[in-house]
Structure formats: structure tokens, C-alpha cells
Amino acid sequence: MGEAAAQEHGTALDDRVAEAATLLRASRNAVIAGLATDSAGAEAAYALARKIGAAVDHVAAAAALRDLEVMREAGRITTTPLQARAQADLVLLAGPGLLTAWPDLVERLSLHTPPTLWPELQRRVVVLCAGGEAPSLPGAETIEADPAELPALLATLRALAAGRTVRTDAPHGSTLRQIAEALAASRYGVVVWSAAGIDALSVAMLCGLTDDLNAKTRFAGLKLPADGNAAGVVQAAGWSTGFPVRVGFGRGAPIHDPWQFDATRMVESGEADVAVWISALTPRPPPAWRRSLPIIALVAPGTRFDTPPAVTVWVGRPGVDHDAVLYDPNLGALTAKQATAPSLAPSAADVLGRIAAAIPQEAAC
């Protein structure tokens, strides 16, 4: 923290911006990674990447893209946390990782009470393969199984819900049959999942189940956001580039390729020659990549590094040091957070903007 304070008062920030700009000017293929920042930080990262022809990834891109890949293959029907709390008379908690993604889930969805808007209804809760972190919900119907079994259980459940026959010895067959009946009998059912905890096949199965149930009743998915403000960053990526994270500007116009622009792959294969690592929300160092390269780190104070980056800029924490817009899982929407402990620490957006301004257009590749 001492160093962060010193940066605020000296010329250290100017020097670091200049060093970062020098590294990026000399680079042939830079990648901006981590990107755990607010909306303004994400927009600034895309503007910088556009200028210098860099690629952009996000620390939770794999989970965010799991949801998006199912959406753009087949579509989906979803709802919001507010709507689930207000009207869901059946909540299916599917797969592990829900409480990690949203620690306040039980309270926010008011799972111990009837739907807040329809209090005359009962709220039924079903917990499927919660892994090690099942919420404490007396009265919930629970299937405890290895999360690896989730795709098979969902396949059985979907078949039963669609009225198809399944093998009599299907694992958890009789419980799944009761759950399928409950799903069909619900007035407004909601299935909750976190793509960080399950595979794409399970996400697709849940979206398909939701779709099937809407033939007769109302049902919707509630997908929990991945960490590092992934949902907020994906939105900024959408209006800035037309794509979610993992885009490259090497040819000018943005190209989206989840494999090609995976920062870890780019670094470890030697394609990337400089990385910009952004972790403004939490003190998190870059991953232990199996190849070293110059790193420009824009990180929250307190971040500890195994190997010191080429350039370290301490940036403010969005919503703590400076006002910010972040995706709020409690709202299912972007929200404006006023700084809780305003400081002079520059925001990631400020620093990225200054780095971009320090790179002449003709030097941009």
C-alpha cells in the first residue's frame, strides 16, 4: 500500500505510463488479459486494443463463453433475480458453484419464503448436484450426486419432463420423476446455474429443458455471472466490438475467436510478446504462465507477485476508490456504485486512456 500511496504523489505514474507505452509501441502482438475492471475500464481496454492491434481476453472468459456459446447455438429463455424472487414458485438449483458465484443467493431469492409477489403460492426448491456447497434449505428436495453425473441426470430429467420413457434403473430415476412432475406443475419455475461450475453440455441441457417446459407452463433460466465483473465486461465488449471477450484487432476490425485469443494460449505459445494484466477489483496477480514475457500490470493495491512485472501501476478499486459501473448479481443489471472510500488512485480506465494517448497513431500497428 505504501508504494501505491507514493505513486499518487509523485511522478511515478507518469513514468509508468511512459514505460508501458514504450513496451506496447515496440510490441508486435500484445494481449490484454484479466480485465477484471468496471465498464469504463473495459471500454478503455477495447479502445487501446483497437489502437494498437492487440487481443483482449478476460480472466473468466471460459465460463462466460460457455453460456454465450449455448445462447448463440440455440437461444435461451431467461429471467432476472428480481423476477425469480418475486414470482418463482419452483426454484431448481442446478449444479455446483452457485454460492461461490452468488453468496447471497438464498437470501436474495428469498428461498425460505413464498414468492414475494404471489405469497399465496408455496415456493418449492430442488437442489441438484450442489457439490460441496449445498445451501441450507430445510424442505428442499435434494439429489446429492457427483457433479460429473449432472449431464446424465439432466438428460433423464429433460426426457421425463417431456413425457418420454426412461430406463427404470436410471440413476435417481424415481426422484427425478417426482421433480419432473413438479417442474410441469409449477406456475413459474426458474432454474439457476453458474457456468463456472458446469460444462457446456449441462448449460445446453438446462436451456433445452426450459424451452421444453414453456410449451405448457412458464419457466426460465437464471444464469449467475462469472467473477471479475465478467457480465459487465461482456456487455461493454458487445457494444464496443459486437462480440464478447476474446477478440483480436490485429487486422483492424475486431475478430472473435475463443481459441485464438485465449490469453494463456497466446502467451504460452509465444504469439504474444507483451501482456497487459488488469485486476482492479481484487488483488490478483497474473496466472503462472509457462512462458515469461514483459507484463504491464494494472492491479489493485496489495497484489503480490511471484515475479515482478515489467511495469506495475496501482489502480483504484472500482466502487471503492472511485465511482464505477459494475454488473450487480443482486440486480441482474449494471449499477452505478459510488466510491465507498474515495482515493486519488487512478482508475484502470484513466491509466489505459493515458497509455493509449502516449502511443502515437502512426506507431500503432
Binding site: 448463440r72 428480481l82 418475486a86 414475494t116 464496443s240 462480440f243 443489471a333
Partner: protein, 536 residues
């Protein structure tokens, strides 16, 4: 810097002007011609060209969570042949090149207003505004169920408009999104929302009274029920009647201009609808013209979008049961050879040509629902050139053309009518005194077109476009990005609404109602907003 546009045909119907002459401006505003002998600092010879105020589009889906979902849903369509989902910085460039200097995003649910405002802030060159969607929220439906006063509804509307920083109220198939959550699959003007016992008609009327009480310049901007369904002209006609004497704007009227005649039970009923428009001076409408090609439909009419999923092309869609309102994104391709699409195309043009008063009919494709806004140049040409229309008609299915009167209509729009429909009238409809015209004091938002044999080409790239007096585009070549403002109303209201909303949100949703507001600090520009006065 004093600038003179010299010798163009100045078409400024708000001020009764249509003659060759000069337009002078300085410091971002139109100024009177200076004393004889005073030299301008810059002069543009525009002899032979048409000089208009900057265009204003009152209904185009350019921002917000639903538009962004469409972008993320259709990565495979991105590219230079698909204009349905341009990103923010492209939107500003593409509109400005056509001579438009303001665009209204017409469907922002209050809980996602912040995202829409961030997207608008990223759109360069043009001014912007949002309409805030009301009509399906449980709080509002509760007020109506309980027979609360008009003042209570007006306070709620004012609080929500202000929090979202919107310019007006949008009402989308009111009641249907709430009813759909109760598994209702069809919902019309006189259907009633389960549990609340409130009809769509009652919601419309209540919000009309609220807009009137608050003195919001823009009338309630209504997306009627039964969009796209054969025979829905009856819905539109009944809705016009339901408006009573109060002002009402009907969005994308073309999508309600359908009869049930002919062998396929689908025909254009645009002449009947135009007749009703001509007879009811309190009603305005934008057309929502269909043009052929790939697009994507983005609508907060969640029920309609849910029911349209089977027509998705490519075959995928996103449906959201949102807070109060909902939304649906369904990609769609309008085909020339498709009977229904050809009737839709003709019905839209019939509305343009049969509604007599260009002050009450507005130029839209409901971007991207009827077509991307990049189809505007072709649409202008179709309105201004009946021979061009005849050539299009000749190439469309004869069976479809028999279901419309389009081929018999000789009217061609004049430049003054174009100027009314796309400049003067939108500014008046939105309550913008200093836009849409070229009198001294107006903003120097100016578009210069040089008409040639290919009218569409003239509209595609205006010869010169000025925003606040700055030259931003010349023949499609853009200058450095500048940023306009977001226009919004902040009507007054009784502060007691804060505690009532607070209590409702705390219990029903478990979150503070203020969490969805758009504070100034959230938008990065130095002067992001401009106030539009209300006159209660």
C-alpha cells in the same frame, strides 16, 4: 467561427422557407445574415444542393441490453453486408453520414437504463435520447388495481423517467408481459392482466393522463397489442379510438396494417388505417417500413417475440422475462419472394403515401425490426419517385401486389415534405425548440444533400453534415469523433413516491429502487445530458 453555406436551396418548412439562399452559423448556432460586407471565416458553396436541418430519427433500436443481446446472439452475421447490429461507434458514423444528427432509442426498461445510457455515451457525432418503457411493472399495475389517483401514477412515471434520464414514455403491449408470466399466450386491448384486473386499454389511458399531467412534450409512444397478426388493423383502429382526445403516438404502424382478405387471409389494410389517421389529428405514427434482407427483430413485446420464435432465421432466439417488462430477440429475413413480406413492404409505403399530413407520419424502419437504418436512402427514393416504386412492384409477387393499393398511388414526397417528416415534425414531437429547423438560434445541425439521378446515393452520403456547427461528415468521409448529448426530461413529482417505491422494492425485490438510477458520474462525458423542459 462564422460560417456561410452559400447559395443552396434552403428547405426549412418550420419557418416557411423554401428558396435559394444562405445559411449562416457561429458558435454552434444558426445566426442571422451579418451586415453587408462582413466576411465569413469559412464558406461552403452549396449552389444546386438542398440544405436541411439535421435529420431526427424518433424510433431506432440503437442501444441497451436487448440490442446488445442481438449483437452477441449473431456473431456469424457481423460483417459488411449486415447492418442489423452495428456497434456504438459505427452507429454514430453511419447515421451522421446520412445527415441525421439525433436518434431516439425507443425501448429502454427502467431497470436497464444505465446500460443504455453507457451505450449512448459511446455513440459519436449525434444527439440521442431514450424512451422509458412503462406498462407492465407490478408497482404500476398495483396502483391501477387499487384505484389510486392519477397523481400517484404521474409521480411514479415522473420518478422513473427522471431516474432513467429518458425523454418520454414508451408503452409496449401493456399488460401482456405481466400476463405472459401467468402463462397467458394472447393479449389484446381489452384483455385483463390476471390478478390485477386491469386491461391494456386502462393502462394506456392511465399513462396518457400521466404524460399529460407532467407536461412531457412527447406523447405516450405506444406499441399496440397483436403486432404482426393478420387482421390486426382492428386493434390499431380500436386503439386510435381508445386514445380519446388525448395525444398518442403509434409506433411502427405498418406492423398493424394487416387485413384478412385474399386467398391467404393476409392483405394490406393500410388504406383504412391511413383514413383513420387522417381523421384523428391527436394521433401521430411512425411507419416501421419493411425492406428486404436479413435483419433481427428486437422487441420488448416479449409475448409477441415468444410466439414468433418459430420464424427465427437463423433458428435461434433469446427471450427474457424481465423486471416488469420483458424482451425478445428473434433474427428474421424479409424475402422479396415471400408473399407476406411483400405485402408488408407495400403496406408501409401505402401508409407513408396515404397519410396526408407529413407532420404526423414519421420516417422509420423501426431499426432493425423492419430493416436496418442503412435502408433509409432506398426508402427516401421510393417515397420521392413513383417510377422507382413501379419498378420494385414489378419484381415482387403479383399475388401480393393484388392485396395492396400501392400500385395505384401517384403521390411523390417533395423535399419540403421530407424536411417536415424527418426534421421539423420530430423536433416538435419531442419538444425540441432549437432543433429541426434553421432559424437563428437553432442549433447548427445541418445536412446538405446534392440530388442526382440516383436519389438514394444522395441520401446515403450527405455532401456536408454539421453538428453544433462542426463539420462532421463530407460525402461519407467522417471527421474526428465529437460527442453529442442525451436529451431528457426531469418532470417534478411528490417526493413521497420515494418511500413508497422504496418499501415496495425492499419487500418484493429485496433491493433498493435507487440502484437502477443513472447518476451523472456514471457517464464519462463532461456534459452528457441536456434538459428538455416540461410544461405541466
Amino acid at each position: 467561427m462564422l460560417t456561410r453555406l452559400a447559395g443552396g436551396r434552403v428547405v426549412d418548412p418550420a419557418n416557411g422557407r423554401d428558396a435559394p439562399g444562405d445559411v449562416w452559423f457561429q458558435n454552434g448556432r444558426i445566426v442571422p445574415p451579418p451586415d453587408i460586407g462582413k466576411r465569413p471565416d469559412a464558406e461552403h458553396d452549396v449552389a444546386g444542393a438542398i440544405v436541411l436541418a439535421g435529420g431526427i430519427d424518433i424510433h431506432s433500436h440503437i442501444a441497451g441490453a436487448n440490442v446488445n443481446t442481438a449483437r452477441l446472439l449473431l456473431p456469424e452475421l457481423r460483417g459488411d453486408r449486415f447492418d442489423g447490429t452495428p456497434v456504438s461507434h459505427e452507429i454514430g458514423r453511419m447515421y451522421a453520414a446520412m445527415g441525421f444528427t439525433m436518434v431516439v432509442e425507443p425501448a429502454i426498461s427502467p431497470h436497464v437504463a444505465l446500460q443504455a445510457q453507457l451505450e449512448l455515451a459511446a455513440i459519436p457525432f449525434i444527439d440521442k435520447a431514450i424512451l422509458c418503457v412503462l406498462g407492465n411493472e407490478d408497482y404500476l399495475l398495483g396502483l391501477l388495481r387499487d384505484g389510486e389517483s392519477d397523481a400517484a401514477v404521474a409521480d411514479y412515471a415522473a420518478r422513473t423517467l427522471g431516474g432513467a434520464r429518458a425523454i418520454g414514455l414508451k408503452v409496449i403491449n401493456p399488460g401482456a408481459a405481466a400476463a405472459f408470466k401467468e402463462n397467458v399466450r394472447r393479449f389484446g386491448l381489452d384483455d385483463v392482466v390476471p390478478r390485477y384486473g386491469v386491461s391494456s386499454r386502462a393502462i394506456i389511458n392511465a399513462l396518457q393522463r400521466a404524460a399529460d399531467t407532467l407536461g412531457v412534450p412527447h406523447p405516450v409512444h405506444l406499441h399496440c397489442s397483436n403486432l404482426g397478426m393478420p387482421g390486426n388493423v382492428e386493434t390499431a383502429l380500436a386503439t386510435i379510438e381508445a386514445a380519446g382526445d388525448m395525444k398518442l403516438h403509434l409506433a411502427h404502424l405498418q406492423f398493424y396494417a394487416y387485413g384478412t382478405e385474399g386467398p391467404r387471409g393476409f392483405s394490406s389494410a393500410a388504406p383504412r388505417l391511413a383514413e383513420a389517421m387522417n381523421a384523428n389529428a391527436n394521433i401521430t405514427a411512425d411507419v416501421g417500413q419493411v425492406m428486404f434482407g436479413q435483419t433481427v427483430t428486437i422487441s420488448s413485446d416479449v409475448l409477441r417475440q415468444f410466439n414468433a420464435r418459430g420464424q427465427a432465421s437463423p433458428r435461434k432466439s433469446v427471450i427474457l422475462d424481465g423486471d416488469g417488462n420483458g424482451s425478445g430477440v428473434v433474427p428474421y429475413r424479409y424475402r422479396r419472394r415471400n408473399f407476406f413480406n411483400a405485402v408488408q413492404w407495400a403496406a408501409g409505403l401505402e401508409l407513408f403515401l396515404l397519410i396526408n399530413d407529413p407532420w404526423r407520419v414519421f420516417f422509420t424502419t423501426d431499426h432493425p425490426n423492419g430493416a436496418p437504418f442503412t435502408a433509409y436512402p432506398d426508402l427516401f427514393a421510393l417515397l420521392m419517385d413513383r417510377e422507382l416504386r413501379a419498378r420494385w412492384i414489378a419484381e415482387l409477387p403479383a399475388e401480393a401486389m393484388q392485396m395492396t393499393t400501392l400500385g395505384s398511388i401517384a403521390r411523390e414526397y417533395s423535399w419540403p415534405e421530407i424536411a417536415v417528416m424527418t426534421r421539423a415534425a420530430p423536433a416538435r414531437l419531442l419538444g425540441l425548440a432549437d432543433r429541426g429547423h434553421l432559424a437563428p438560434g437553432a442549433r447548427a445541425d445541418i445536412a446538405v444533400y446534392r440530388p442526382g439521378a440516383d436519389l438514394a446515393a444522395s441520401f446515403r452520403n450527405a455532401e456536408l453534415v454539421f453538428k453544433d456547427g462542426m463539420l462532421i461528415a463530407r460525402n461519407g468521409q467522417m471527421g474526428p469523433a465529437v460527442f453529442g448529448r442525451v436529451l431528457n426530461v426531469q418532470p417534478g413529482f411528490d417526493r413521497a413516491i420515494e418511500s413508497r417505491l422504496g418499501a415496495f422494492y425492499d419487500h418484493i425485490y429485496g433491493v433498493p429502487h435507487t440502484a437502477f438510477d443513472v447518476p451523472l458520474h456514471a457517464v464519462a462525458h463532461p456534459e452528457p445530458f441536456e434538459a428538455v423542459p416540461c410544461s405541466p
